[in-house]
Amino acid sequence: MDLFVERVEDYRATVTRCAATDAAAVIGSVLGAGLPAGSKVVVPPDLPWEVVDGVVDSGLSATELDCFAAVVTSATVAIAETGTIVLTHGAGQGRRAITLVPDMHVCVVRADQVVADVPDAFALLDPVRPHTWISGPSATSDIELSRVEGVHGPRTLHVVLLT
């Protein structure tokens, strides 16, 4: 668990640990601290935690999604060795587009979803589902091969780890 947190933070993402019972409150405070007042937040239809003023995705167009500042989802698997979270876009995770267009992604990971390494993750994943493996915020190494965070995907990744 500590390795997962260390590796996620190494990508300049933020991790907040909390008890499962505090998840909704922590999500609220993360959004409140990270967004200007009045920012819109989209959530998948079946997110297990309440997000105050969250707009449930009902097939929003890409242009409509572009008006949202943040998205809150769960995950399927997390990989400690590489600091990766894996979405398979089922319950609590929503369509691929909703975790892509908004600039901030708050991803809630349960402790029991964290596996040691990449082979462990593959053993748990269904290839028929679409996957998005996320290791930190959007980044590029295309300018002089130095890593810079923040291109087209969410520029802020905040992982809420339920311990």
């Binding site: 590796r7 890409a62 590489t82 587009a97 091969l145 291109v151």
Partner: protein, 534 residues
């Protein structure tokens, strides 16, 4: 079909020009030095890196040995999941498929994920001829496109540009094709990345058709994989309603679980990261999520020619990480343009002649000589492509081709004989050992190559391997080269402490000879050359 840039001079001439460009050399030394240090650090974190390399090579070799059946299986799986599969023998056929799909939707633009296959076939130019703009969305590809430039690196096509040059390109060219760069744009990389975000966002939001390649294609499931960093790939793979993916036939891996090896090897070798920011996988059409019309173009374009080359076919293992470029002393000094191809560096020096054949044009024939044979590329290669051995073999082929050309004397010259001899020696560990103890040309050449060769573990075509965690080798391969000490076939690798859990076996009983035959035509699509191994 060509993989090289039109009008490029042979490597020695192009290299001479490049070497005179001090700015280029400064940019390259800085960039390759940065990535080398990062790669070294993250590779050192993996204690069984060598086993991973062996596993990656073995999986790819196995896939290539049974390529025909894997491709048919891939086609079936894709079709079952709602994708339309097209077969393309060459660049023209592949470009025609993409433009036909685009025109069928009445679009005049497509957004593109960075893709070596589409660069190789000249897709952007072909679409432009049909009145369709192809917007590159990878940052480095965008820099190249806006600068009306040529790519010079597999991973970072604009590696030859520094931040100040990129700032000037963005400031002058973005406004001509879309949202202009901010007036106060600086050369701070984060500001440059932001400018690209703003410029491309409107294109992502309105695009109806996207074009991608794929890093891997899983035969058993029909799953395609794109590995990227910026999120431009996710934008293209997710937002448009139509997706066309051009996939080289060598990208196939047999099973879903094979991917775990490559998703460990590729990011660390490529960008020097434990994992790249984004990896997307998709299997045909997912109702209600992402593109609802999915096309996959399976591209030959010389790959079956390469497969028929018993020495060179290992180049088809390449996963386009570009680690060999970053460690190459020749590439670091000349840059990528001197190679005259979208595939520069050591891998380009073998891949281009393998795809197009030797004796066709002077520029391609010059590439196998663009190397010191130092072996750094082999050491860095995550799938253990023995680039120096292939270079030497190709040099012999080039000499043979020129010797048999009309008007040429039909007596082998000293160079041809030397290359043949070196090639013969390198094809056998035992001969290599003998030669190393010898003197003269053979002794020197083999010693040079022996610095990077580990004959005791080198596996060309696996006989029977069982892989555990991380794809660890569990059994000796009957085709292992003998070691130089004479312990031919050697003892099995030391028992791996973490050999638990998932195992899989594969192998083939066949010979090493390859050939290519015309495969079955697919209903509604182009017939293609499907390789089989006799």
């Amino acid at each position: 079909m060509t993989t090289t840039f039109v009008g490029m001079p042979p490597f020695p001439s192009a290299a001479r020009t490049a070497l005179a460009d001090t700015q280029l050399r400064t940019n390259l030394a800085h960039a390759t030095g940065t990535i080398r240090a990062k790669r070294t650090a993250v590779v050192a974190e993996i204690d069984d890196w060598e086993e991973l390399r062996l596993a990656g090579a073995a999986i790819k070799d196995n896939a290539l040995m049974h390529l025909g059946s894997h491709l048919v299986r891939l086609e079936t799986a894709l079709a079952e999941r709602g994708a339309t599969v097209h077969w393309a023998r060459d660049a023209a056929e592949a470009c025609a498929v993409v433009s036909t799909v685009a025109r069928s939707h009445g679009v005049d633009e497509v957004v593109k994920v960075k893709s070596m296959a589409t660069a190789e076939i000249g897709l952007n130019e072909a679409l432009a001829a049909q009145g369709i703009a192809a917007w590159e969305t990878d940052l480095a590809e965008l820099i190249v496109q806006l600068g009306d430039d040529l790519p010079s690196h597999i991973l970072v096509p604009a590696i030859h540009r520094n931040r100040a040059e990129i700032r000037d390109i963005f400031a002058s060219a973005m406004g001509e094709v879309g949202r202009a760069a901010p007036d106060d744009l600086t050369d701070d990389p984060s500001r440059l990345a932001e400018a690209a975000r703003l410029h491309l966002r409107e294109k992502f939001l309105r695009a109806r058709v996207a074009v991608s390649g794929a890093n891997f294609a899983v035969a058993e499931t029909g799953t395609l994989v794109v590995v990227e960093s910026e999120g431009n790939g996710r934008m293209c793979l997710t937002l448009p309603q139509v997706l066309v993916s051009v996939v080289g036939i060598e990208k196939v891996v047999p099973t879903w679980s094979d991917l775990d090896v490559f998703l460990q090897l590729l990011p660390r070798s490529s960008t020097g990261e434990r994992m790249n920011p984004y990896t997307s996988t998709w299997t045909g059409v997912t109702p209600g999520d992402g593109p609802q019309e999915v096309h996959v173009v399976l591209l030959d374009n010389g790959r079956t020619r390469a497969l028929a080359d018993t020495v060179g076919r290992q180049a088809l293992r390449c996963i386009r990480c570009s680690a060999c470029l970053n460690v190459c002393p020749v590439y670091e000094r000349t840059g990528g343009h001197a190679y005259g191809s979208v595939y520069p560096g050591p891998i380009g020096a073998i891949l281009n002649p393998l795809l197009t054949g030797v004796g066709v044009d002077e520029q391609t024939d010059s590439l196998p000589y663009a190397s010191t044979l130092c072996g750094a590329c082999f050491d860095a290669c995550p799938v253990r492509i023995d680039i120096p051995s292939v270079l030497v073999d190709l040099r012999a082929q080039v000499i043979d081709a020129h010797r048999s050309a009309p008007g040429h004397r039909h007596v082998p010259n000293a160079e041809a004989l030397a290359m043949r001899a070196v090639s013969w020696v390198l094809s056998s560990g035992a001969r290599l050992g003998l030669a190393e103890r010898g003197t003269g040309l053979l002794g020197r050449a083999s010693t040079l190559l022996g610095q990077r060769t580990s004959p005791g573990v080198a596996v060309r075509w696996p006989g029977c391997l069982a892989l555990g965690r991380r794809g660890r080798m569990r059994a000796t391969c009957p085709l292992r080269r003998p070691s130089r000490s004479g312990a031919g076939g050697g003892a099995p690798p030391a028992a791996a402490p973490r050999q638990v859990g998932r195992e899989r076996s594969f192998g083939h009983p066949g010979s090493h000879r390859g050939s290519a035959v015309i495969g079955r035509p697919v209903a509604g699509a182009c017939p293609t050359v499907v390789p089989v191994l006799a």
